[in-house]
């Protein structure tokens, strides 16, 4: 009678059962910090005057590295110094790492059944492998570094079922944007979203990560997809430690149940200035773009790059438009190089850069000028998110981003077939 969230939080707090609404103090498996949220957490941690639970800590500089300016260099340095001071092994210098959530998954920290927190809102990505993972603030991350434990309110869970076969060029991004467009940016507030159905089980892990990643854009605490053979195969050879998959009971209590027909889901775009502001890409053909951005924890994986390369191969980006491609990790970058994808992008005149979060949050490496429009495979399109307050971000799948780069306007890739 329990959901995945209830089972994991019960197990980690040493209880037989817990119910939605209850507050528990639970043992956390890993706490992840990045270079932006790290510094405030390290300052708080030092106030505790204790030794850290170093085997639980993962430090990944990714937001403003390679350092964008002196201030960000100081932040990145603070993380490096903290790792050295306490002998924290799981620190990933640029050149070894990449975007934190991609790396957490690649490096085998994330498994079914684990409880992971991160000082970054997109920590919910790890639910794609059946973990309970959620974003927290810096002070909380510091508390976990000191004690290994944190308080959680056991969330209610919503059950989403997506049945059927997805159409050509329809990706995980389109599923989650469709859902957010439907329920709104607070449609899953405080809750876990669990995802089921043949459309989900047929998706590669990459697209599932995109879906779990954007649960936060509906206000969700976690986005969880029950683990299956694809997850077990992925973890084989990379997982750290052992794990046990956890599943909801057939009679688990859900706060809501929503069903979608996969065949009705089309390439979807979220217009400025909220992820809920969705429309079919095919209806936005009059929106001209200045920049197309492919990357981020949401859509910077090898499968995303393959999709974009398939569309761009042998073609050139529209004159007057720029495209930026940022693989989410070193491993993705290398794989893309070996498969010849980087050559495809460069032949199309796209700019290819090493892993960083940079442009997604308007930091650097692709910031927008006043009035500019970007179609982006990232996760947020708030006012000023990627640059000037009068710039605009349209969120879309890698397929739509690539197709739009070719035409210079928002384009459903099916239009180019």
């Amino acid at each position: 009678m329990s959901t995945i969230s209830e089972k994991i939080l019960a197990e980690k707090s040493g209880k037989k059962n817990v119910e939605a609404g209850e507050i528990v103090e639970a043992e956390v498996d890993y706490v992840m910090l990045n270079d932006v949220t790290g510094l405030p957490a390290f300052e708080v941690f030092e106030e505790f005057q204790t030794k850290p639970k170093k085997e639980k800590i993962v430090l990944i500089p990714d937001h403003y590295v390679p350092n964008k300016d002196v201030a960000s260099a100081e932040q990145a340095k603070a993380m490096r110094v903290f790792a050295e001071k306490y002998g924290i092994k799981n620190y990933f210098e640029i050149g070894k790492g990449g975007v934190c959530h991609q790396l957490m998954i690649e490096e085998g920290f994330v498994t079914p059944g684990r409880l992971i927190i991160g000082a970054d809102s997109h920590t919910c990505s790890y639910g794609a492998l059946g973990a309970f993972a959620t974003g927290v603030g810096s002070t909380e991350a510091a508390a976990v570094m000191a004690t290994g434990r944190l308080w959680f309110k056991v969330p209610e869970t919503q059950k989403y079922t997506i049945e059927g076969k997805l159409g050509k060029y329809v990706m995980g991004k389109d599923i989650i944007l469709t859902i957010i467009g439907d329920i709104g940016v607070d449609g899953a507030l405080y809750k876990t979203m669990e995802f089921y159905g043949t459309a989900i089980s047929s998706l590669p892990l990459s697209d599932r990560i995109t879906i779990a990643n954007m649960a936060i854009e509906a206000g969700g605490k976690a986005g969880i997809i029950p683990a299956d053979e694809k997850v077990f195969d992925y973890l084989n050879g990379r997982v750290k430690g052992t794990y046990k998959a956890v599943y909801s009971d057939p009679d688990a209590a859900y706060s809501e149940k929503l069903e979608y027909n996969a065949e009705e889901i089309v390439p979807t775009v979220a217009k400025p200035f909220l992820p809920e502001n969705t429309a079919p890409a095919s209806e936005l053909g009059s929106i001209e773009i200045d920049q197309a951005y492919l990357g981020s924890c949401t859509n910077g994986r090898i499968e995303d790059l393959r999709m974009a390369a398939e569309i761009l191969k042998g073609k050139r980006i529209k004159e007057g438009v720029r495209m930026i491609v940022v693989p989410a990790s070193k491993a993705v970058f290398e794989q893309a190089m070996e498969e010849g994808l980087l050559k495809v992008f460069m032949d199309a005149d796209a700019y290819v850069a090493g892993p960083t979060c940079g442009a997604c949050l308007g930091g650097y490496m692709g910031v927008l000028a006043k009035g500019e429009v970007c179609v982006s495979s990232t996760n947020r399109n708030f006012v000023g998110r990627m640059g000037d307050k009068e710039s605009k971000v349209y969120l879309a799948s890698p397929a739509v981003v690539a197709a739009s780069a070719l035409t210079g306007r928002i384009t459903d890739p099916n239009e180019l077939r």
């Binding site: 405030p40 106030e47 505790f48 206000g219 000023g384």
Partner: protein
């Protein structure tokens, strides 16, 4: 935490996101005073200059959605905001606020810019001094009150470490 406060209202709508509260380009410090200088810079230019210590934010649904950046409630504290009242909060913003000691209240309140509201945390009551209307709210769960009573998460953790 004071049991009762009185403050001038800054009215905001629904879905006020963390990029509006503190644009990401300023995330190169954790200092509340520094961050406060850029609070709401893009959407409410002049907020930093006009806001006074003790002012209150009254907002709609899903306040603080988006990033996990603790810089958002820190920026509001840096400006001197005494409490954020909203119909609902994004969960990470809500936790962050409690953990760093910024009072947050879930309540639907009708109040416009410049009006003054009284907030009685113990009695669970908000009164708009201009309209005279009153609005009740539920107090926090016991565990969170205990957390706040022990002086926030930092003090709570210190106590745990001593055990």
């Amino acid at each position: 935490m004071n049991k009762k406060i009185k403050g001038r209202v800054w009215r905001f709508g629904d879905n006020i996101d963390t990029d509006q509260i503190i644009p990401a380009k300023y995330l190169v410090t954790g200092d509340p005073k520094e961050l406060g200088k850029h609070a709401f810079e893009n959407v409410r230019p002049g907020f930093y200059k006009e806001a006074r210590v003790g002012d209150v934010i009254v907002a709609g649904r899903n306040f603080g959605c988006g990033s996990s950046r603790e810089h958002a409630p820190r920026a509001l504290m840096g400006v001197g905001i005494a409490c954020v009242v909203a119909e609902s909060f994004a969960r990470i913003f809500y936790r962050n606020s409690i953990n760093i000691g910024l009072p947050v209240v879930e309540c639907v309140v009708e109040a416009e810019d410049g009006e003054v509201v009284e907030i009685d945390f113990e009695g669970g009551l908000i009164r708009n001094q201009v309209t005279g209307k009153e609005y009740g709210f539920h107090s926090l769960p016991e565990f969170l009150l205990k957390l706040i009573d022990s002086g926030g998460l930092i003090a709570y953790v210190r106590k745990q470490l001593k055990k």
